[in-house]
Symmetry: D3
Subunit: 163 residues, 6 copies
């Protein structure tokens, strides 16, 4: 049970004490995705050429969410993020639905990692795309959301094995 | 392009005008899930018997996120939610990882639906479980997040076909 | 256990469903207080004559907190407050410490009461006074905080018996 | 002094009681602007043709600020906004600096007007443009910010005389 | 008046300049309490044995409030909290009402103390318990809220004399 | 286009990476103003003599907004502000309207500048004055808002030439 660091002596949640941890450079990369039908795929990609841009709004939402992570996730420590970048890649399939892969990279110099900031930003980016396209189709599905890699900190680096 | 209601005449994002829509009872149910390894599965389920309770924290986070949806999702209308309920069900598999299914039901009497509130609460519930267990394993994956059903409003009811 | 309306079928917290409750006029009055030493008492009361005004800042903090109640108190419903008023009265004692009584009145037309908004505003008003005077004395004590009365709603009126 | 409705009997600020006011349709239009040098003017307008879009980010910021108005402006009532739209128009001058006019229209059905929501959104839109272009020139100036018109509510309609 | 460090030269409030203060380890412990009747006492303590847990929700609320302190208390500096822990102890009396003592410990490495974070978390923990039990009895009273001790910082350590 | 540091490789907005920048002392001073008619001018200035104080509320709003800048301006980095001070000066004219000049000084020790914090605080201070006086006259105009000077940071000092 010792690994459940979020529990205090009374067995309830606490915000883990990181006072003794040193401030080092840390980075985390997370992924999420959203599956959309052909019509939405076309409208999003065409809008890029024009002026309207669903992804621009989603990106702003994701970046703002990264900064709000410690107010959204109860036991998360507040961290002064030093950089957030979100990119999009279409994974084209032959069937009806296309998948938009979301990649979020977050950096900080702080006492604890930024995994939650990257994951939260990825989720909110996907949720925002859902919101802006749901008038066309409510059947969109937000795909798996997971940590791709993290560097920095005492617990060492982590890199997801995607195979 | 007329269905992209979030775009204004200059092709940029706007918050859709719902002034003319009437306030009716509306409900939405959304799902998310998280896949955890055996160790985490045992710790979460055992904690329920004791006092510590990862799911209690996640549930509070999800409910608070439902109320914050319009500050997290840029084009979402603020709505006075009248009820939020989150439940958990384990989907047990024979292999290493177990899946915790998250179900969120949100209700309101308002001018627009609460799909985004249900989806956002489901995502944040899953993210919070990740946060509280990540000291044990960073390889957890948040499963698909989607709308299960909605009722109320002019656009009619929606029920996901899960087959 | 049926009175613990904040618990769902799984025994965990939920935001109570008030969809069926009707929107009526509701009012709540709450009290808190803060005991300060002679020096602080004199500085606060003298400042009123001049320009600096500890109580003006505390009042703004209390009003803003009333509006934030549903983001601070997890199971609280968001309510469109229609009025908040905070007043101060000194309860003078012969001994060293003087007590500043804080009274908060909150009104709404909504589906549920505003007790928590009044209590939260009263607490935050007291906390802000503590913050602004703590350089002089950290020994200040925030007095009892309680609901004085509420009107409106199905559960009927409540008036505290102060004897 | 009776017109200073934001003052209570003790002469301090309060949130005005609007319980008795009826919920009617209300609209407000506000303007702000920002003066930018030639280089920034060219970069913003060229970006529109490409993918990057300073104005898209500013617009999202303005819309989100409209929804946050009652948490930013202390005595503002929380209102469920039903629509926000922001548009941009360049006012081209012969001299070095070009002016980007910002127009914000906010709608609600509520007990009080949305002037502050429109003004706050206009200011935040301008501030965001400053933020995104300040690496090029810190000398940008945010122009006058004012209410252009409002309709609805007991105090009657207002239309600014621009001459 | 020099001790009223929150006042600027015009006699109005300012956020005190702590730029020159050095970042050191700081800790603060604050107390609050809530008096509940026998029925609520039994329900809270029995729920601990079962699954529902009023105190788990209150604890999450308190921890989240600690992180929000600088947005709730106007002149408070934002601080990256490094640890928050909340514990509960019943003070049993022979008479009708039982008192639940709330203890909050907050830590940081920062330029200023965390007294307000500890006090705010204690108040919000008590307010949340009130909220979750008010359907049973609105007569609960939140007891005195005060700083128990603080360590770190130039102004020296403080320890309350409880006698 | 290299100076548009807020754009990522896909041409969309990102939060600029400041991980490598060193934490130094930084200061920024910004101005805004508001033009009010004679009646409002008299009421604001008379209130100073009495107890009610429009400017006290506006000042609290401005200070709180400075702390919220990174949640209001999408690409702004969160910074632990170490000091905020707001002052007011009347610029008296012979004609009908009087101008209240708002000066905001913000300090931090951080990786990036506090220009946006000073500008945002100045805007919100002016907006709050508008809000509190709009019952008297909706024709008030918020004057130009701009950076007066900044010091600290690699990009060097900036001082506006007011001629």
């Amino acid at each position: 049970m010792s690994e459940f660091t979020h529990m205090n002596e009374q067995g309830r949640a606490k915000m883990v004490d990181i006072t003794e941890k040193s401030a080092t450079f840390r980075k985390a990369i997370a992924h999420s995705s959203i599956f959309v039908n052909k019509k939405i795929y076309q409208q999003i990609t065409n809008h890029k050429v024009g002026k309207g841009d669903v992804l621009a709004v989603a990106q702003v939402a994701g970046i703002m969410a990264a900064k709000q992570t410690s107010t959204i996730i109860p036991m998360c420590h507040p961290l002064p993020l030093s950089g957030v970048d979100i990119t999009f890649d279409w994974q084209l399939h032959e069937h009806e639905n296309q998948e938009l892969l979301i990649t979020v990279e977050v950096k900080t110099k702080g006492n604890t990692g930024v995994e939650m900031e990257a994951l939260t930003a990825a989720s909110v980016t996907a949720l925002t795309i859902y919101d802006m396209c749901k008038a066309v189709d409510k059947g969109m599905v937000i795909g798996q959301t997971y940590l791709q890699e993290k560097t920095g900190g005492k617990s060492g680096d982590y890199k997801r094995d995607n195979n």
